[in-house]
Point group: C2
Chain length 223, copies 2
DNA sequence: CAATATTGGAGAGTAGTACTATCTAATTGA
DNA sequence: TCAATTAGATAGTACTACTCTCCAATATTG
């Protein structure tokens, strides 16, 4: 298929496709002459993935490209491939400023939690830094988070992550599997956040709105 | 305190504070003369909240301002205040294009899930739209999410949301409580996402890495 | 009281992101 | 043959989040 058909089938303007080509987000089509190239199903799938990533999460293109580059990296086993794609997409641009008050302490709390949970994760993971950053930020706001809260969060995260991995098909071709894993991580992140907000609204209704808030009634068991 | 002290104590450059003042993110200080104003603890707290929001989540300032405006809105009960602050901060700029394939269907699935869970949430919530969008996007990528997966996500979201609400102090002044709620929603979102990634890494290790020594991949045949 | 510093307010400038538009020359389809 | 399409390159646009410079009015210090 030529570029105009790729555009029509993906809903992305030709000018934008050319821009993605220039920026290396999309591999070049196969040139049939000096002013013609053809694109295949891979290009269409890749283009849809790009749009999903930029529309649902609003990640900068540079992160999308980093994740895509990781996916295309040959010569890694699935676990490392998954890890490097996540690393690329979710790494934070602004480096960990290991300078200030409480940041170090927050890192230690994050490490302690991970140790307690017994999760086998690499050091220097961007996710770990982000966890520490969130803890440190809550400290700085004067509202430190308790260990019990972190444990609840970790338990919820684990439930979701098990489910994420469960729906990965080990029979699928490697590249598709990793593409899918990245898509699930990124777009289902939005779903999870939306559900959290919805659940907060429900909980808030039960607490502040439903019946009189002030008296300390025992926790309702409706589950 | 004067602007330079506010800058020193918050770590935010004076020029940036002035910019926030101009943009209405920070209320003006009390003017003591035509070229002097003083700022109080409220300003410092607000400034720290702004920085936490823009640094941890990378929300655009317009969203931060919308959330802040909602917080400052007098004459709402706590539940509605919480709701409008969340609405303001988490609403998506790009309107729901109710046009295309499967979007309507995704909305129905989201509604059905919420009905099944019995959550009392408003219609027209941005979170609901985002949930539908995520479902529709997975469909479009050719990897639709199952109802069982959505239920797991919902259960996890509920656990976290209960915990979020639990740590809200009903005795606290209303404004501080809402500020805190927004901070928890926004910065602990990052913590939850980081933990999900870490849990995915652990699950991936157990699944793809754990029982295989250096040499073998379960199956590889391409190239 | 004079010299120096700081401040509020306004405006312009900057760097980065994600496109979008225009142009040229080659090539294709009718 | 000749309008339409295309690759590739360059330039322009709109937006965001600052950052810088300037001014006149104060405030602080010697």
């Amino acid at each position: 298929m030529r570029i105009s058909e790729l555009s029509r089938r993906s809903g992305v303007p030709v000018a934008t496709i050319k821009y993605y080509l220039r920026e290396g987000l999309l591999p070049k089509g196969e040139a049939t002459s000096s002013t013609q190239a053809t694109y295949g199903a891979t290009h269409l799938r890749r283009l849809r993935l790009i749009r999903a990533l930029v529309e649902v999460t609003d990640a900068p293109l540079v992160k999308v490209r980093a994740a895509l580059d990781a996916i295309d990296d040959r010569g890694m086993d699935v676990h490392d491939l998954l890890g490097s794609a996540q690393h690329a997409f979710f790494a934070d641009a602004k480096a960990a400023k290991a300078d200030d008050t409480g940041e170090r302490e927050a890192e230690e709390r994050a490490a302690a939690l991970l140790a307690e949970l017994g999760w086998s994760v690499t050091d220097h993971s961007p996710a770990r830094d982000q966890l520490a950053r969130a803890i440190a930020t809550m400290d700085r706001l004067g509202r430190p988070v308790g260990d019990d809260m972190l444990r609840v969060y970790a338990a919820a995260a684990r439930m979701v992550a098990e489910e994420d991995l469960r729906c990965l098909d080990p029979e699928a071709p490697r590249e598709e599997m990793v593409e899918y894993a990245v898509a699930v991580s990124a777009v289902m992140e939005r779903a999870l956040m939306a559900l959290r907000l919805l659940a907060q609204e429900d909980a808030s209704a039960r607490r502040f709105d439903g019946d009189r808030p002030a008296e300390g009634r025992p926790r309702r068991m409706d589950d």
